[in-house]
Symmetry: C2
Subunit: 220 residues, 2 copies
Protein backbone atom coordinates (compact mmCIF):
# COMPACT_ATOMS: atom_id res chain seq x y z
CA UNK A 1 0.00 0.00 0.00
CA UNK A 2 1.25 3.44 -0.85
CA UNK A 3 2.12 5.90 1.89
CA UNK A 4 -0.88 7.93 2.92
CA UNK A 5 -1.01 11.38 1.39
CA UNK A 6 -0.87 14.40 3.70
CA UNK A 7 -4.11 16.23 4.31
CA UNK A 8 -5.02 19.54 2.69
CA UNK A 9 -8.03 21.80 2.98
CA UNK A 10 -9.57 22.94 -0.32
CA UNK A 11 -12.03 25.83 -0.64
CA UNK A 12 -14.61 24.51 -3.06
CA UNK A 13 -17.26 26.77 -4.55
CA UNK A 14 -18.67 24.54 -7.26
CA UNK A 15 -17.18 26.79 -9.92
CA UNK A 16 -14.69 25.75 -12.56
CA UNK A 17 -11.63 27.24 -10.85
CA UNK A 18 -12.05 25.60 -7.49
CA UNK A 19 -12.87 22.26 -9.16
CA UNK A 20 -9.57 22.39 -11.06
CA UNK A 21 -7.83 23.37 -7.83
CA UNK A 22 -9.30 20.36 -6.04
CA UNK A 23 -8.24 17.93 -8.77
CA UNK A 24 -4.80 19.53 -8.78
CA UNK A 25 -4.50 19.26 -5.01
CA UNK A 26 -5.58 15.65 -4.84
CA UNK A 27 -2.58 14.58 -6.92
CA UNK A 28 -0.40 15.03 -3.86
CA UNK A 29 -2.83 15.53 -0.98
CA UNK A 30 -5.78 13.95 0.70
CA UNK A 31 -8.29 16.79 0.18
CA UNK A 32 -10.86 17.96 2.72
CA UNK A 33 -13.23 20.45 1.11
CA UNK A 34 -15.03 23.39 2.64
CA UNK A 35 -18.19 24.48 0.84
CA UNK A 36 -19.89 27.70 1.95
CA UNK A 37 -23.55 28.47 1.80
CA UNK A 38 -23.55 32.21 2.36
CA UNK A 39 -26.81 33.30 0.83
CA UNK A 40 -25.32 33.58 -2.63
CA UNK A 41 -27.75 34.08 -5.46
CA UNK A 42 -26.18 31.20 -7.37
CA UNK A 43 -26.99 28.69 -4.68
CA UNK A 44 -26.92 26.01 -7.36
CA UNK A 45 -23.13 26.11 -6.91
CA UNK A 46 -23.49 24.25 -3.65
CA UNK A 47 -25.12 21.18 -5.20
CA UNK A 48 -22.43 21.24 -7.84
CA UNK A 49 -19.69 21.52 -5.23
CA UNK A 50 -20.98 18.45 -3.42
CA UNK A 51 -21.02 16.43 -6.64
CA UNK A 52 -17.52 17.57 -7.54
CA UNK A 53 -16.20 16.64 -4.09
CA UNK A 54 -17.83 13.23 -4.38
CA UNK A 55 -16.34 12.78 -7.85
CA UNK A 56 -12.89 13.63 -6.49
CA UNK A 57 -13.38 11.21 -3.59
CA UNK A 58 -12.92 14.07 -1.14
CA UNK A 59 -14.54 14.58 2.23
CA UNK A 60 -16.33 17.85 2.70
CA UNK A 61 -18.20 20.10 5.10
CA UNK A 62 -20.93 22.46 3.99
CA UNK A 63 -20.87 25.52 6.26
CA UNK A 64 -23.86 27.76 6.35
CA UNK A 65 -22.69 31.25 7.11
CA UNK A 66 -24.65 34.41 7.47
CA UNK A 67 -23.59 37.81 6.17
CA UNK A 68 -26.63 39.85 7.13
CA UNK A 69 -25.09 43.08 5.84
CA UNK A 70 -26.06 43.24 2.19
CA UNK A 71 -24.76 45.51 -0.55
CA UNK A 72 -23.33 42.93 -2.92
CA UNK A 73 -25.25 41.78 -5.98
CA UNK A 74 -24.27 38.20 -5.12
CA UNK A 75 -26.24 38.34 -1.89
CA UNK A 76 -28.83 41.02 -2.41
CA UNK A 77 -31.57 40.13 -4.83
CA UNK A 78 -32.68 43.75 -5.06
CA UNK A 79 -29.43 44.50 -6.94
CA UNK A 80 -28.98 43.09 -10.41
CA UNK A 81 -25.95 41.21 -11.67
CA UNK A 82 -24.55 43.33 -14.49
CA UNK A 83 -24.20 42.01 -18.02
CA UNK A 84 -20.79 42.28 -19.60
CA UNK A 85 -20.71 44.57 -22.59
CA UNK A 86 -17.45 44.17 -24.46
CA UNK A 87 -14.64 43.46 -21.99
CA UNK A 88 -15.33 43.38 -18.24
CA UNK A 89 -14.18 46.50 -16.44
CA UNK A 90 -11.11 46.53 -14.25
CA UNK A 91 -12.99 48.04 -11.32
CA UNK A 92 -14.23 46.13 -8.31
CA UNK A 93 -17.51 44.57 -9.52
CA UNK A 94 -20.85 44.93 -7.74
CA UNK A 95 -20.70 41.16 -7.15
CA UNK A 96 -17.85 41.79 -4.68
CA UNK A 97 -18.72 40.53 -1.18
CA UNK A 98 -16.68 42.39 1.47
CA UNK A 99 -14.04 40.11 2.99
CA UNK A 100 -15.50 36.96 1.48
CA UNK A 101 -12.20 35.17 0.93
CA UNK A 102 -10.92 36.52 4.25
CA UNK A 103 -13.81 34.78 6.00
CA UNK A 104 -13.45 31.61 3.92
CA UNK A 105 -9.71 31.40 4.54
CA UNK A 106 -10.21 31.95 8.27
CA UNK A 107 -12.47 28.93 8.47
CA UNK A 108 -10.05 26.98 6.29
CA UNK A 109 -7.17 27.71 8.68
CA UNK A 110 -9.28 26.68 11.66
CA UNK A 111 -10.23 23.46 9.89
CA UNK A 112 -6.65 22.83 8.73
CA UNK A 113 -5.24 23.15 12.23
CA UNK A 114 -7.93 20.88 13.63
CA UNK A 115 -7.23 18.04 11.19
CA UNK A 116 -3.48 18.58 11.02
CA UNK A 117 -3.37 19.82 7.43
CA UNK A 118 -0.45 22.01 6.39
CA UNK A 119 -1.95 23.36 3.15
CA UNK A 120 -5.02 25.41 2.28
CA UNK A 121 -5.86 25.47 -1.42
CA UNK A 122 -7.81 28.29 -3.03
CA UNK A 123 -8.72 28.73 -6.70
CA UNK A 124 -8.02 32.49 -6.86
CA UNK A 125 -6.39 33.64 -10.09
CA UNK A 126 -5.16 36.54 -12.13
CA UNK A 127 -8.44 37.42 -13.85
CA UNK A 128 -10.27 37.54 -10.54
CA UNK A 129 -7.77 39.71 -8.82
CA UNK A 130 -8.11 42.39 -11.43
CA UNK A 131 -11.42 43.06 -9.71
CA UNK A 132 -11.61 41.28 -6.38
CA UNK A 133 -9.04 42.53 -3.88
CA UNK A 134 -9.20 39.31 -1.84
CA UNK A 135 -7.90 37.32 -4.82
CA UNK A 136 -4.64 39.30 -5.09
CA UNK A 137 -1.43 37.34 -4.49
CA UNK A 138 -0.25 40.00 -2.04
CA UNK A 139 -3.43 39.52 -0.04
CA UNK A 140 -3.03 35.74 0.05
CA UNK A 141 0.56 36.05 1.19
CA UNK A 142 -0.24 38.64 3.80
CA UNK A 143 -3.22 36.67 5.11
CA UNK A 144 -1.15 33.50 5.42
CA UNK A 145 1.43 35.36 7.49
CA UNK A 146 -1.21 36.94 9.74
CA UNK A 147 -3.14 33.72 10.32
CA UNK A 148 -0.01 31.80 11.22
CA UNK A 149 0.88 34.49 13.78
CA UNK A 150 -2.50 33.85 15.40
CA UNK A 151 -2.44 30.08 15.57
CA UNK A 152 -0.93 27.28 17.57
CA UNK A 153 0.37 25.49 14.49
CA UNK A 154 2.09 28.22 12.59
CA UNK A 155 3.10 26.32 9.50
CA UNK A 156 -0.02 26.34 7.35
CA UNK A 157 0.53 27.53 3.81
CA UNK A 158 -1.93 28.93 1.29
CA UNK A 159 -1.59 27.36 -2.14
CA UNK A 160 -3.15 29.13 -5.10
CA UNK A 161 -2.00 27.01 -8.03
CA UNK A 162 -4.04 28.96 -10.58
CA UNK A 163 -2.97 32.43 -9.44
CA UNK A 164 -1.03 33.35 -12.60
CA UNK A 165 -3.22 31.48 -15.06
CA UNK A 166 -5.82 32.81 -17.45
CA UNK A 167 -9.12 30.99 -17.84
CA UNK A 168 -7.91 29.21 -20.99
CA UNK A 169 -4.95 27.75 -19.14
CA UNK A 170 -7.08 26.76 -16.17
CA UNK A 171 -9.37 24.83 -18.51
CA UNK A 172 -6.35 23.21 -20.17
CA UNK A 173 -5.08 22.09 -16.77
CA UNK A 174 -8.57 20.83 -15.91
CA UNK A 175 -8.69 18.76 -19.10
CA UNK A 176 -5.36 17.15 -18.17
CA UNK A 177 -6.68 16.37 -14.69
CA UNK A 178 -10.02 15.03 -16.03
CA UNK A 179 -12.09 17.56 -14.10
CA UNK A 180 -15.80 16.93 -14.69
CA UNK A 181 -16.54 20.38 -16.14
CA UNK A 182 -20.15 19.41 -16.74
CA UNK A 183 -20.62 19.36 -12.95
CA UNK A 184 -19.21 22.86 -12.40
CA UNK A 185 -21.31 25.99 -12.20
CA UNK A 186 -19.89 29.46 -12.78
CA UNK A 187 -22.88 31.68 -13.61
CA UNK A 188 -23.72 34.30 -10.98
CA UNK A 189 -27.41 33.93 -11.73
CA UNK A 190 -28.96 30.84 -10.25
CA UNK A 191 -30.89 29.84 -13.40
CA UNK A 192 -31.38 26.43 -14.97
CA UNK A 193 -28.89 27.29 -17.69
CA UNK A 194 -25.95 29.74 -17.52
CA UNK A 195 -27.07 33.28 -18.41
CA UNK A 196 -24.03 33.77 -20.66
CA UNK A 197 -24.14 37.46 -19.83
CA UNK A 198 -22.54 37.91 -16.41
CA UNK A 199 -18.81 38.39 -15.90
CA UNK A 200 -18.33 34.86 -14.69
CA UNK A 201 -20.04 33.40 -17.80
CA UNK A 202 -18.03 35.80 -19.96
CA UNK A 203 -14.65 34.51 -18.79
CA UNK A 204 -15.74 30.90 -18.93
CA UNK A 205 -17.05 31.22 -22.48
CA UNK A 206 -13.90 33.05 -23.57
CA UNK A 207 -11.74 30.31 -22.11
CA UNK A 208 -13.47 27.49 -23.93
CA UNK A 209 -13.66 29.56 -27.13
CA UNK A 210 -9.94 30.25 -27.10
CA UNK A 211 -9.37 26.50 -26.94
CA UNK A 212 -11.79 25.93 -29.82
CA UNK A 213 -14.06 23.94 -27.52
CA UNK A 214 -17.68 24.00 -26.44
CA UNK A 215 -18.30 24.19 -22.70
CA UNK A 216 -19.58 20.70 -21.78
CA UNK A 217 -22.11 22.41 -19.54
CA UNK A 218 -23.80 23.81 -22.64
CA UNK A 219 -23.87 20.45 -24.37
CA UNK A 220 -26.01 18.79 -21.73
CA UNK B 1 -27.39 68.77 18.06
CA UNK B 2 -23.92 67.31 18.34
CA UNK B 3 -22.19 65.97 15.29
CA UNK B 4 -22.95 62.30 14.75
CA UNK B 5 -20.25 59.97 15.97
CA UNK B 6 -18.45 57.80 13.40
CA UNK B 7 -19.41 54.13 13.31
CA UNK B 8 -17.29 51.35 14.79
CA UNK B 9 -17.71 47.59 14.93
CA UNK B 10 -17.23 45.98 18.35
CA UNK B 11 -16.72 42.27 18.91
CA UNK B 12 -18.90 41.52 21.91
CA UNK B 13 -18.73 38.20 23.71
CA UNK B 14 -20.70 38.95 26.84
CA UNK B 15 -17.56 38.72 28.95
CA UNK B 16 -16.12 41.46 31.08
CA UNK B 17 -13.37 42.49 28.66
CA UNK B 18 -15.52 43.02 25.61
CA UNK B 19 -18.12 44.88 27.70
CA UNK B 20 -15.44 47.32 28.88
CA UNK B 21 -14.24 47.62 25.27
CA UNK B 22 -17.76 48.47 24.09
CA UNK B 23 -18.24 51.14 26.75
CA UNK B 24 -14.81 52.51 25.94
CA UNK B 25 -15.59 52.60 22.20
CA UNK B 26 -18.92 54.30 22.58
CA UNK B 27 -17.29 57.37 24.09
CA UNK B 28 -16.12 58.36 20.62
CA UNK B 29 -17.96 56.01 18.26
CA UNK B 30 -21.40 54.82 17.36
CA UNK B 31 -20.93 51.11 18.14
CA UNK B 32 -22.30 48.21 16.10
CA UNK B 33 -21.75 44.95 17.92
CA UNK B 34 -21.14 41.49 16.54
CA UNK B 35 -22.09 38.63 18.84
CA UNK B 36 -21.13 35.10 17.85
CA UNK B 37 -22.98 31.95 18.67
CA UNK B 38 -20.41 29.31 17.80
CA UNK B 39 -21.47 26.36 19.84
CA UNK B 40 -19.58 27.57 22.89
CA UNK B 41 -20.24 25.72 26.10
CA UNK B 42 -20.87 28.99 27.90
CA UNK B 43 -23.79 29.90 25.66
CA UNK B 44 -25.12 32.02 28.49
CA UNK B 45 -22.61 34.62 27.27
CA UNK B 46 -24.88 35.38 24.33
CA UNK B 47 -27.84 36.44 26.45
CA UNK B 48 -25.46 38.59 28.48
CA UNK B 49 -23.98 40.11 25.33
CA UNK B 50 -27.43 41.14 24.12
CA UNK B 51 -28.24 42.78 27.43
CA UNK B 52 -24.92 44.62 27.50
CA UNK B 53 -25.41 45.90 23.93
CA UNK B 54 -28.88 47.11 24.86
CA UNK B 55 -27.50 48.79 27.98
CA UNK B 56 -24.89 50.57 25.87
CA UNK B 57 -27.56 51.62 23.35
CA UNK B 58 -25.68 49.76 20.62
CA UNK B 59 -27.08 47.94 17.63
CA UNK B 60 -26.02 44.36 17.24
CA UNK B 61 -26.12 41.26 15.10
CA UNK B 62 -25.99 37.76 16.53
CA UNK B 63 -24.22 35.52 14.03
CA UNK B 64 -24.61 31.80 14.36
CA UNK B 65 -21.48 30.17 13.07
CA UNK B 66 -20.58 26.56 12.86
CA UNK B 67 -17.18 25.10 13.60
CA UNK B 68 -17.91 21.42 13.11
CA UNK B 69 -14.31 20.41 13.76
CA UNK B 70 -14.09 19.94 17.49
CA UNK B 71 -11.06 19.55 19.69
CA UNK B 72 -11.47 22.55 21.96
CA UNK B 73 -12.95 22.24 25.44
CA UNK B 74 -15.05 25.33 24.69
CA UNK B 75 -16.91 23.52 21.93
CA UNK B 76 -16.60 19.88 22.73
CA UNK B 77 -18.57 18.72 25.74
CA UNK B 78 -16.65 15.47 25.89
CA UNK B 79 -13.57 17.45 26.99
CA UNK B 80 -13.55 19.06 30.38
CA UNK B 81 -12.65 22.64 31.18
CA UNK B 82 -9.60 22.42 33.44
CA UNK B 83 -9.60 23.91 36.90
CA UNK B 84 -6.82 26.32 37.73
CA UNK B 85 -4.51 25.06 40.44
CA UNK B 86 -2.28 27.86 41.63
CA UNK B 87 -1.38 30.12 38.71
CA UNK B 88 -2.68 29.37 35.22
CA UNK B 89 -0.07 27.89 32.92
CA UNK B 90 1.54 29.89 30.15
CA UNK B 91 0.79 27.22 27.55
CA UNK B 92 -2.02 27.39 25.04
CA UNK B 93 -5.05 26.21 27.02
CA UNK B 94 -7.38 23.39 25.96
CA UNK B 95 -10.12 26.04 25.68
CA UNK B 96 -8.27 27.45 22.63
CA UNK B 97 -10.49 27.36 19.52
CA UNK B 98 -8.34 27.32 16.36
CA UNK B 99 -8.52 30.65 14.52
CA UNK B 100 -11.45 31.93 16.57
CA UNK B 101 -10.46 35.57 16.58
CA UNK B 102 -9.30 35.27 12.97
CA UNK B 103 -12.83 34.22 12.02
CA UNK B 104 -14.46 36.86 14.24
CA UNK B 105 -12.25 39.64 12.89
CA UNK B 106 -12.94 38.57 9.31
CA UNK B 107 -16.66 38.99 9.86
CA UNK B 108 -16.02 42.28 11.65
CA UNK B 109 -14.06 43.63 8.68
CA UNK B 110 -16.81 42.56 6.29
CA UNK B 111 -19.39 44.27 8.49
CA UNK B 112 -17.25 47.39 8.93
CA UNK B 113 -16.79 47.85 5.23
CA UNK B 114 -20.49 47.37 4.60
CA UNK B 115 -21.57 50.04 7.09
CA UNK B 116 -18.65 52.38 6.44
CA UNK B 117 -16.96 51.92 9.82
CA UNK B 118 -13.23 52.58 10.04
CA UNK B 119 -12.58 50.88 13.36
CA UNK B 120 -12.96 47.35 14.67
CA UNK B 121 -12.74 47.01 18.45
CA UNK B 122 -11.67 43.81 20.16
CA UNK B 123 -11.20 43.17 23.87
CA UNK B 124 -8.00 41.11 23.54
CA UNK B 125 -5.42 41.76 26.25
CA UNK B 126 -2.11 40.84 27.75
CA UNK B 127 -3.32 38.03 30.02
CA UNK B 128 -5.13 36.34 27.17
CA UNK B 129 -2.25 36.47 24.79
CA UNK B 130 -0.02 34.62 27.16
CA UNK B 131 -2.09 31.64 26.11
CA UNK B 132 -4.17 32.43 23.05
CA UNK B 133 -2.06 33.20 19.98
CA UNK B 134 -4.89 35.12 18.30
CA UNK B 135 -4.86 37.69 21.13
CA UNK B 136 -1.22 38.71 20.55
CA UNK B 137 -0.63 42.30 19.48
CA UNK B 138 1.57 41.12 16.61
CA UNK B 139 -1.29 38.98 15.35
CA UNK B 140 -3.78 41.85 15.52
CA UNK B 141 -1.41 44.12 13.64
CA UNK B 142 -0.61 41.52 11.03
CA UNK B 143 -4.26 40.63 10.54
CA UNK B 144 -5.23 44.27 10.08
CA UNK B 145 -2.60 44.65 7.38
CA UNK B 146 -3.70 41.47 5.60
CA UNK B 147 -7.40 42.25 5.70
CA UNK B 148 -6.88 45.75 4.35
CA UNK B 149 -4.90 44.30 1.45
CA UNK B 150 -7.92 42.17 0.59
CA UNK B 151 -10.63 44.81 0.76
CA UNK B 152 -12.03 47.66 -1.24
CA UNK B 153 -11.85 50.09 1.66
CA UNK B 154 -8.34 49.62 2.93
CA UNK B 155 -8.38 51.93 5.91
CA UNK B 156 -10.04 49.85 8.62
CA UNK B 157 -8.08 49.74 11.84
CA UNK B 158 -8.19 47.23 14.69
CA UNK B 159 -8.40 48.87 18.11
CA UNK B 160 -7.55 46.78 21.14
CA UNK B 161 -7.72 49.33 23.95
CA UNK B 162 -7.15 46.71 26.68
CA UNK B 163 -4.18 45.01 25.05
CA UNK B 164 -1.56 46.04 27.64
CA UNK B 165 -3.86 45.98 30.65
CA UNK B 166 -4.15 43.42 33.40
CA UNK B 167 -7.56 42.34 34.63
CA UNK B 168 -7.40 44.70 37.58
CA UNK B 169 -6.87 47.69 35.31
CA UNK B 170 -9.61 46.56 32.94
CA UNK B 171 -12.03 46.45 35.87
CA UNK B 172 -10.86 49.89 37.00
CA UNK B 173 -11.51 51.27 33.53
CA UNK B 174 -14.90 49.56 33.51
CA UNK B 175 -15.82 51.18 36.83
CA UNK B 176 -14.97 54.59 35.39
CA UNK B 177 -17.13 53.87 32.33
CA UNK B 178 -20.02 52.51 34.43
CA UNK B 179 -19.96 49.11 32.77
CA UNK B 180 -22.76 46.93 34.17
CA UNK B 181 -20.48 44.14 35.43
CA UNK B 182 -23.45 42.27 36.84
CA UNK B 183 -24.57 41.62 33.25
CA UNK B 184 -21.23 40.19 32.12
CA UNK B 185 -20.40 36.50 32.05
CA UNK B 186 -16.86 35.20 32.03
CA UNK B 187 -17.06 31.60 33.25
CA UNK B 188 -16.28 28.94 30.63
CA UNK B 189 -18.84 26.63 32.16
CA UNK B 190 -22.39 27.51 31.32
CA UNK B 191 -23.76 27.07 34.85
CA UNK B 192 -26.20 29.19 36.80
CA UNK B 193 -23.37 30.63 38.87
CA UNK B 194 -19.68 31.07 37.90
CA UNK B 195 -17.70 27.88 38.66
CA UNK B 196 -14.87 29.95 40.21
CA UNK B 197 -12.47 27.24 39.07
CA UNK B 198 -11.79 27.80 35.38
CA UNK B 199 -9.05 30.08 34.07
CA UNK B 200 -11.53 32.75 33.10
CA UNK B 201 -13.08 32.82 36.60
CA UNK B 202 -9.58 32.79 38.09
CA UNK B 203 -8.50 36.01 36.37
CA UNK B 204 -11.80 37.74 37.04
CA UNK B 205 -11.70 36.90 40.75
CA UNK B 206 -8.07 37.98 41.00
CA UNK B 207 -8.91 41.30 39.37
CA UNK B 208 -11.72 42.15 41.77
CA UNK B 209 -9.70 40.86 44.72
CA UNK B 210 -6.74 43.07 43.86
CA UNK B 211 -9.09 46.06 43.93
CA UNK B 212 -10.53 44.96 47.26
CA UNK B 213 -13.93 44.48 45.68
CA UNK B 214 -16.51 41.75 45.38
CA UNK B 215 -17.55 40.83 41.85
CA UNK B 216 -21.11 42.24 41.54
CA UNK B 217 -22.01 39.04 39.70
CA UNK B 218 -21.49 37.15 42.94
CA UNK B 219 -23.60 39.57 44.92
CA UNK B 220 -26.76 38.93 42.96
Amino acid sequence: MSKQKPKAVVLLSGGLDSAVTLFFARQRYNPFCLIFEYGQRHNKEIKCAKKIAAEAGAEYFVLKISLPWKGSALLDKSLSVPSVKGRPSKNIPITYVPARNIIFLSYAFSFAESIGAKKVFIGAHIQDYSGYPDCRPEFLESFGRAANTGMKNSRIKIEAPLIRKKKKDIIKLGLKLAVPFELTWSCYQGGRKPCLKCESCYYRMQGFKELGMTDPLLEK
